[in-house]
């Protein structure tokens, strides 16, 4: 596990980010840095505003105030498509697979970004995309399901398909919303190996997770959220052993 402290400039940085929905504070003056090459996990009770932060970063939501920067450049005014083009890939808690398409098409389609009836690069590029899709399906163990519709997969396979769609992009920042929940131990190990393997290739990851064993096992850093605010951020052990945070997480209100 990497040492928190001697860090270079953060890949993503949120400064004083606020978002309200009517009377509900979804993001309360959030400051958060994602250091490069690390897994930062967002922890907190339901409704703490974890997914909202993802939505604010990718432009699904606009912050009321504050600054969000990707490698020093502002992400304000972005939309999901533009943030994808800038190298942010995201998975969803409810997966949002292309359900009627095949497993292979799900992975292939995320590489085809041109809106025109053809993609740049011609046949060679098309072949390269297909090969890459098959390679990623082999990595996540879905080769046998290649031509099945996404909707016909079991839960764990769907989770790995969701991960495959991220793996196949060249994104450098991954936002994963509960990617490991519901996986059995063997699948979970496979998931961790796949994800960790990409960190050394320059990928930075922020993920949301509820299972504290998983959180402890996978995180380089933890940010603890409650009611839209980041209450603490730092090394996993320090956060997880904080009795005040534990009390909030397990139901005692602050």
């Amino acid at each position: 596990m990497k040492v928190w402290g001697k860090m270079t400039a953060p890949v993503l940085s949120l400064k004083g980010v606020n978002k309200r929905f009517g009377g509900v504070v979804a993001a309360d003056d959030v400051d958060l840095d994602l250091p490069p090459g690390m897994i930062t996990t967002l922890v907190g009770p339901n409704g703490a505003g974890k997914t909202t932060l993802f939505n604010l970063i990718t432009g699904n939501l606009r912050p009321d105030s504050g600054a969000i920067t990707l490698r020093g450049e502002s992400l304000l005014g972005t939309d999901p498509r533009k943030s994808a083009l800038r190298g942010i890939a995201r998975s969803f808690q409810d997966l949002r697979l292309f359900e009627q398409m095949t497993v292979f098409e799900n992975v292939l389609a995320v590489m085809e970004r041109s809106a025109l009836p053809w993609q740049p690069g011609g046949r060679a590029a098309a072949r390269a995309r297909r090969d890459k899709a098959d390679a990623v399906l082999a990595q996540v163990g879905l080769t046998g399901w290649r031509n099945a519709r996404a909707i016909d997969l079991g839960y764990a396979e769907q989770k790995f398909l969701s991960l495959a769609r991220i793996l196949v992009t060249d994104a450098s920042l991954w936002l994963l919303d509960e990617p490991a929940s519901g996986l059995d131990p063997a699948s979970y190990d496979r998931f961790v190996t796949l994800v960790r393997g990409r960190l050394s290739e320059g990928v930075t990851i922020c993920l949301i997770e509820h299972n504290l064993d998983i959180v402890q096992g996978i995180s380089d850093r933890i940010a603890f959220l409650d009611q839209g605010a980041v209450l603490a951020a730092g090394e996993p052990r320090a956060i997880l052993n904080d009795p005040k945070l534990a009390a909030i997480y397990f139901g005692e209100r602050r």
Partner: protein
């Protein structure tokens, strides 16, 4: 007798083009348009006017009608595809209503309720399509070409983008796709093929009037797709065949009282639709069987 069948087959071909082109956006993009008959009408009037005043050549009328329909489609696509799918349904219904009003009221150009008559015989490469056989050959070729282009398109990256947007627009956008542009292009392609059907229709019937381009016609085209199978290439064509042959077939059942044939036809249509939706919810050629569709 042979004329009757050829006439029917030409109409099936034209309807097949309409159904296949509408299916391109309904089945593959999840865009429900109620304005297909309006575009059909625009193309038919354009074709008739070009034939009456400019040239009876299909090679003039068809490209112009295709371009006109594609351009007109932007009028509903641009404002409504930015927002949720329901808005497109409403916007297209609005366009359908406006189009019908224009067809029947813009008397100087459309001839009003009476329509435009005396559309000359179509020509192709200088040959006059005088016989029903030649008209059928051209219509069938156009249908084959339409089906082929749509088949090819849905198997390219563009088709995958459409299906991805249909299945989950939020996910498609967050992987870098531009749903608005992709859907706008899809609607333009669909309506352009609708334009082919309109021109063929104008020449075949040799007159156009507003009655052929009502919202009922839009629903009629949609039912062909649903019966045949949305999201399949052959389904809509099969649907067009069935919808046209069913009433024709009924007239052969001599034991049915001729007086009640029309209402009987409606009942059979209705019953067939209900049975189909129970036993083949994705149409006759639809991919999923009942169990797959209902288990989720």
């Amino acid at each position: 007798m042979q004329g009757y069948i050829l006439n029917l087959l030409i109409l099936v071909s034209i309807s097949g083009i309409l159904a296949a082109s509408l299916n391109f956006i309904i089945g593959y993009a999840g865009i429900y348009s109620m304005a297909h008959a309006a575009f059909f009408g625009v193309a038919a009037y354009a074709g008739a006017l070009i034939a009456l005043h400019l040239s009876p050549s299909l090679l003039v009328a068809i490209p112009v009608a295709m371009a006109l329909c594609a351009a007109l489609s932007l009028v509903i696509s641009l404002p409504s595809l930015r927002v949720r799918g329901e808005y497109f349904v409403v916007a297209s219904l609005g366009l359908q209503m406006i189009a019908f009003t224009v067809f029947s009221e813009w008397k100087d150009v459309t001839g009003g309720i009476g329509g435009l008559t005396g559309v000359p015989i179509a020509t192709l490469f200088g040959f006059q399509l005088r016989t029903l056989e030649s008209m059928f050959a051209v219509s069938l070729s156009c249908l084959a070409l339409t089906a082929f282009v749509i088949y090819a398109l849905v198997h390219t990256s563009f088709g995958r983008s459409l299906k991805a947007i249909r299945d989950n627009e939020v996910a498609a956008a967050s992987f870098g796709k531009n749903p608005i542009v992709i859907k706008t292009i899809a609607v333009a392609i669909s309506t352009a093929f609708c334009g082919v059907a309109g021109v063929l229709y104008a020449f075949h019937i040799s007159f156009v009037n507003p009655e052929s381009f009502t919202v009922d016609q839009s629903v009629f085209i949609m039912s062909m797709i649903i019966i045949g199978g949305t999201g399949t290439v052959l389904g809509p064509i099969l649907g067009a065949l069935i919808i046209h042959l069913l009433p024709a077939g009924l007239t052969y059942l001599t034991f049915l009282p001729a007086r009640d044939l029309a209402s009987l036809q409606q009942i059979i249509y209705g019953a067939a639709m209900v049975l189909l939706m129970i036993y083949r919810p994705s149409g006759l050629i639809g991919r999923a069987n009942v169990k797959d569709t209902w288990s989720r």
